[in-house]
Symmetry: C2
Subunit: 422 residues, 2 copies
């Protein structure tokens, strides 16, 4: 079947039909054993490798239809190595422990009722994402492993690649019909239907830029896990080891500036500012970073090119080689600054003072708070989860990097011998 | 200060000002120790008792302004005994363990990073509720205990009572300004602002009827914990002990028919239907229950008054002395019926067959699933939580009865010695 034909067949189902199929599939999926699920995941990985040719063909159709250039084009591009990596990723998920049907707690009430809290699949998980086709495969692996049906709404630039990948995955023996549904990406209508499908969809996870996330949180009536923005801060305290501070600041800012856990702001204790600011500004500029600063920073970095920071800088997520520096009177002012401007993703303190570190760790209200380490560790893989669905910046359900366990809900199983309520 | 004066003073702040004050208060609240919080809770309880006279005076103003009669008026009514019970409820919450800053897990990564997952307050919790003034006090106690600021939006029938209670609670020594904010209840505007206050409010919990809950879930951009509707089922299996089944069905239907964990539907195995249906229909009618039924039930209950069930009956939550009965071919059809019609709140199987019970417990996708016990146990107090904020019928964050632990989020505290990401 040609790519074009397959696309026509699948998209003849309406979004609502696909959501209904996913809902029905979810109960069949929840009944699969861990062994069955892992076996199917391995078949999925094999099938991706066996069908590498047609995946690359579909990807070429996307590339030739798109206007993307540079890094954006690279995000869309697949090659033989990337296809192998996608398959390997699925095999890795097969090896991870299955969190579903784990007993989280169990107790007996005075009336003899035995109450057991168990993890269960969420049901139907909707994912809205942008151009990278590997997200399609990652997401299917994680949701399938946790017994969920998944409804995918990828970017239109990757429509052919996603279509081909979903065909391959759904055709694997043992995958229930409706377990993996791909929505039409040519208009926003399917997003609107997905995020309003109360009763059919249990959660929607937007993975993408601020505009997408804002659209979804504003318009969804289905519960959302918000992933996203990271205006991350590093505070270099009076007692900081300057070499360590340099390593961490340079790593957090430059190792991968386009991601949400990269540092965007540097706060420096006023007592060390005169010594530390010239040193770090020089190194940052040497790494190609555009440096912005408050008035004190501008004075202290005299002779180096530092842009005066505007009020809007403090709340901005640059996502590129740019950082703004501000001098603060100490740990409390650093915490207050972070409280005011942070997106509550990841923040770090560099200090040798344990009391300051404890106060910072406890009082900074962010998903991940670091003492003497780079903010770049806010990642499911780096946390040891073996995978990642995203980094939650909301407080409900899960917060920070999340993976398999967070793709589950719970239920209470209650066993009695005829108890009634008084 | 008279009730009227106080109301004027407080309501001169806009909803947005109140939300900003609550946001600011939330960080101060998160720093209170368990001992400080418990001490303040006991002072709140004392102050409620000491001010019983003015609470009852405010309540009389509500009662004389309202058109409510019967049960609705009773929900609004306070008397000396009810005021004492409110105070006792606060003392009970003071005695419960404080879940905040509990370490949920801790591990060390191969690179030496120590990662600790700790419970933290949610921040600012919005509660939208209807006429019962005791919800005001309950909610303040639970949110204060967990270090959260609370924004209350009660029903307009209870405006004077709520205003007086909030004055008393906020004036207790040690309560930070903004910790307890009461919104204007004369129009829906304050609800709209509250549920759209992203960045200021971390979660909104609607406690009320289906119309309120639907309005909030449809219009909120702030995360919501949906509480609510219970179209609860009891399935009497072939091997059920009939006496036990009778006790449970009668209890679940009649002990308090107006609440969400009351049974609304009875499914009966076809092999026992001829014997069991006449017996239970007679008892239900004897308890004043209106019985509806499918065709088989109508035939089997010959001579008794059974209303033919319409298609719409199966999805309806009666919340009164009414039940609909359907005969099914066995546990699988019971599960399929529940999957189709249930609101996923609470369901029960009555059986002596352990395999059937296990299948029902595992496969029924509801917040609480019972084997040989009444659905009426779906309640925070009955589960042993010592309190209850509501019963969540969504799958995100918490599911089923929830109380203190579910009023918290988590964060990661990560301790290193200079680690940077490779």
């Amino acid at each position: 079947m040609s790519v074009r034909m397959a696309a026509m067949v699948t998209t003849s189902l309406s979004t609502r039909d696909k959501l209904l199929r996913a809902r029905e599939a979810s109960s069949r999926l929840s009944r699969l054993s861990t062994t069955e699920k892992n076996g199917i995941l391995l078949l999925m990985a094999d099938s991706i490798e066996a069908n590498a040719g047609s995946i690359l063909e579909a990807n070429r159709a996307d590339l030739s239809a798109s206007q993307l250039v540079g890094a954006m084009r690279d995000r869309l591009l697949l090659d033989a190595g990337r296809v192998r990596l996608m398959a390997e990723g699925v095999r890795d998920v097969a090896k991870l422990p299955d969190p579903t049907f784990e007993t989280l707690s169990e107790w007996i009430r005075p009336n003899g009722l035995r109450i057991r809290k168990v993890r269960v699949p969420l049901g139907v998980v909707g994912i809205i994402y942008e151009s990278r086709p590997n997200v399609t495969v990652d997401t299917v692996a994680l949701t399938f492993k946790t017994g969920n049906a998944v409804v995918l709404r990828g970017g239109k630039e990757a429509a052919h690649s996603n279509q081909r990948l979903v065909e391959i995955l759904t055709q694997v023996a043992g995958v229930p019909e409706g377990a993996i549904e791909l929505l039409e990406s040519s208009s926003r209508d399917s997003v609107g239907e997905l995020i309003q499908a109360r009763g059919l969809v249990d959660v929607v996870i937007p993975r993408g830029g601020p505009e997408l996330i804002s659209y979804v949180t504003q318009n969804a009536s289905v519960p959302v896990i918000e992933t996203g923005a990271g205006n991350c801060h590093i505070f270099v305290d009076e007692s900081a080891d300057f070499d360590m501070a340099d390593r961490i600041v340079i790593n957090a800012k430059t190792q991968r500036p386009s991601v949400c856990n990269a540092a965007e702001k540097l706060l420096v204790h006023e007592r060390i500012a005169a010594k530390y600011i010239p040193q770090i500004v020089k190194k940052l500029i040497g790494c190609g970073v555009e440096v912005r600063g408050d008035e004190t920073t501008l004075q202290l970095a005299d002779g180096m090119i530092v842009v005066p920071a505007k009020a809007s800088d403090w709340g901005e997520e640059y996502l590129r080689l740019c950082i703004a520096i501000r001098v603060v009177s100490g740990v409390d002012e650093a915490i207050a600054h972070i409280e005011r401007y942070s997106t509550k993703h990841s923040e770090a303190i560099i200090t040798q003072d344990e009391e300051h570190a404890r106060r910072f760790l406890r009082q900074v209200d962010s998903a991940a708070v670091y003492w003497n380490a780079s903010t770049r560790f806010s990642d499911g893989g780096e946390f040891g989860f073996g995978a990642e669905m995203g980094v939650s910046t909301q407080k409900l359900h899960c917060r920070g990097p999340f993976a398999l366990a967070e793709l589950t809900s719970t239920k209470y199983e209650v066993i009695g011998d005829g108890q009634v309520r008084q």
